[in-house]
């Protein structure tokens, strides 16, 4: 009985959202507000847990009192609501940005630049030489496509056009993947209808 009720509730929720295909309407807005409220509440609850376990307990038992500093920095976000002291909200943002960039940048050279160039070179020596050459041409012309310091005309123009074609070749599978991703929800929608009706 509970399962059947849940199935109908779920079906109703999906139809509330799908009703937008007819037109924007209050049912869709109710569904949107419910989703936003749930997401916000979950975000708060999960992060309270995080702060409590990693900072509040060590601060209260004296093992890591200095963790009061990141707590104070985090609280500084509230200054975003005060026009006079809004600049203070930059401090926690700077911490987030600086730490994220610091962590990212130390891996970029190896992973994204040297590693990729090395792989491109090694594809010429191992396996199919023709495919390796195509990959090399694709890499070079795609990089040239993103060069904006010189006008893309003449020989450079032809090379960047070729680079654009290779980039299109990589976008095709991306698009196909996005379509496949969304089709999964179509399949789920149909399954929900079947479960509710009891077919």
């Amino acid at each position: 009985m509970a399962d059947a009720l849940t199935a109908w509730i779920v079906l109703a929720l999906w139809f509330m959202v799908a009703s937008w295909t007819y037109k924007d309407n209050p049912l869709f807005k109710i569904a949107t507000v419910a989703a936003v409220a749930g997401g916000a509440a979950n975000g708060v609850l999960v992060n309270i847990d995080n702060i409590y376990l990693k900072a509040l307990i060590p601060i209260m038992d004296g093992t890591k009192i200095w963790l009061i500093i990141p707590i104070i920095i985090g609280v500084m976000f509230v200054f975003v609501f005060n026009p006079r002291y809004k600049w203070l909200a930059r401090i926690p943002t700077i911490f987030l940005m600086g730490i994220s960039i610091g962590a990212m940048i130390t891996g970029v050279m190896s992973a994204q630049i040297i590693g990729q160039i090395a792989d491109t070179a090694s594809s010429l020596t191992g396996g199919n030489l023709l495919n390796g050459l195509i990959v090399l041409i694709a890499v070079v012309t795609a990089i040239l496509y993103f060069t904006y310091s010189k006008e893309q005309t003449g020989v450079l123009g032809n090379l960047t056009t070729l680079g654009r074609y290779f980039l299109m070749a990589s976008i095709g599978p991306y698009w196909a993947g996005e379509l496949a991703f969304h089709m999964s929800f179509g399949i789920k929608f149909v399954q929900i209808i079947i479960d509710a009706i009891g077919l």
Binding site: T6, A31, G38, N42, L67, R90, M97, A142, G186
Partner: protein
């Protein structure tokens, strides 16, 4: 050059933090490793506050709606928001926590299904967009259509089993031209990221501390 503490203090802080990571990367297992590890702990704590601020922003927005006298429907949406928000918090606090069965049922049934349902609209719009846009008007659209069409047939689990040529061609697309194009983009993004970090480090990137 005057010292504008509102801009200079955040900038110096940013430079210092990035330098800590760069120097630690060059000289690992030194004293800066402890600082770096501590900063990553601080990141997880400070990042939590972004979720609190997001919730506060929503609460303020919907609270303003409650005070609107002329717009009844917005008042109803605001009441709905607060009822659901408080219900989640209440169930988590008094009925077993976020790992409890009640909260899990509520979140999975309500939020889980609503956030999934939003994607069903794409089932209508995306194939239609492809039907309209994947017309072979130019060389770029021809390449996009061929690679896209091949890959969508490849993603259907059964088609490559029945027509192996599609599987072979799709594999070749992913491993050769698409890989090359994507690799070029990755290298460019990597160089761009390095340059952007350098600009942020030296304070040349306007808008970061504004």
């Amino acid at each position: 050059m005057s010292f504008d503490y509102k801009r200079n203090v955040p900038q110096y802080l940013l430079t210092l933090i990035i330098l800590v990571f760069l120097i630690e990367f060059a000289l690992p297992e030194g004293p800066l490793t402890i600082v770096k590890n501590e900063l990553t702990l601080w990141l997880t704590l400070i990042a939590s506050f972004t979720f609190f601020i997001a919730a506060v922003t929503l609460i303020i927005r919907y609270a303003k709606n409650l005070t609107e006298k002329k717009n009844t429907i917005n008042i109803l949406y605001a009441i709905e928001f607060f009822v659901i928000f408080v219900a989640y918090i209440g169930i988590a606090l008094f009925a077993g926590g976020i790992s409890g069965d009640s909260y899990k049922w509520l979140y999975t049934t309500l939020h889980g299904n609503l956030s999934q349902a939003a994607w069903v609209l794409y089932v209508f719009l995306e194939p239609w967009a492809a039907y309209k846009a994947f017309q072979l008007r130019s060389k770029e659209s021809i390449i996009l259509a061929i690679t896209g069409l091949t890959y969508i047939l490849y993603l259907a689990p059964s088609i490559p089993a029945v027509v192996p040529a599609i599987g072979t061609f799709a594999n070749w697309i992913v491993n050769v031209p698409a890989k090359g194009g994507a690799r070029g983009a990755i290298i460019t993004m990597g160089v761009g990221a390095l340059l952007l970090a350098l600009r942020m480090l030296t304070g040349k990137e306007k808008g970061i501390v504004d």
